[in-house]
Symmetry: C2
Subunit: 158 residues, 2 copies
């Protein structure tokens, strides 16, 4: 399948919250997102990598206007279950590379990460699926990151 | 926007590899996935949550027949950069809940996690976007997890 990039989008409207050292057993993700949902926070990305030594870390993003409510909810959750104190950023930049053929081109991810590295941009969060690569970087690096990715994929961009 | 669930899919064809304690600076994600790409491994999901104390963890999934090559590549990468020894599972179960209106219904994630928790299923990886919730669980819990989610969302499933 040919690689076709349909869009490279930059979203600067979100914040992110991260909680580490969450006990890695059934029910904790449910508890966190029930509390987040009850606080009226609309979550966009949720990311969790596999844990180690019985603990896992979760990051999630939300509209900036809900950042305070999300951080407050995460603090209460962490105290209740004994996880690490949450960290957060009021504004991050989410970059989304969407297209077809991504799945058979693992080099798309390698190329995107390589381009960002050469521009000195640190990748904070990654969440990919077969049709989309989502990367979160620091808020003040978003525009530079978007330009870098558009240059990298200009041949494949329709 | 109304919540409509279009599909709940179970994919039992993949394995996963996780690397912890990766130095959280530009270039490391690029290095890993260039090596993975050169090893001819087609990656499906890549997930990284925000790091702590200058270190981050990354998990990725691939077809089971590439599991050995992926684990070997990850071991070499970890030795070269001084990350933690990688862990892996030859077979995991990936559950994908796709639909429209997910973004405005954070309770979809909360409901999915709640249903899995009540079935005693531990969530190993999470990667969500506005149109899809992907969850990875242990290989032998996949069918039970899929049935649990189909029951939970039967009202909204078209
Ligand atoms: C860490 C969290 O995802 C936990 N494994 C759960 O299933 O809820
Ligand atoms: C951990 C890894 O993603 C690193 N932050 C990078 O940018 O490559």
């Amino acid at each position: 399948e040919d690689l076709v990039i349909e869009s490279i989008a930059l979203d600067e409207t979100q914040g992110r919250v991260t909680i580490g050292d969450i006990p890695d057993r059934p029910g904790l993700a449910a508890k966190l997102f029930q509390q987040v949902s009850r606080a009226g926070v609309n979550v966009d990305m949720i990311v969790q990598s596999v844990g180690r030594d019985g603990k896992a870390a979760m990051s999630f993003t939300m509209p900036q206007e809900s950042y305070e409510a999300a951080l407050e909810t995460a603090r209460r959750f962490s105290r209740e279950i004994g996880a690490a104190a949450p960290s957060g950023e009021r504004q991050v930049a989410k970059l989304s590379v969407s297209g077809t053929g991504l799945k058979s081109h693992v080099s798309v991810a390698a190329r995107a990460f390589r381009a960002l590295a050469e521009a000195g941009v640190n990748v904070e969060m990654i969440s990919t699926s077969e049709v989309r690569l989502n990367v979160v970087v620091r808020g003040d690096e978003g525009r530079r990151a978007a330009e870098t990715l558009r240059r990298e994929f200009q041949e494949e961009l329709i």
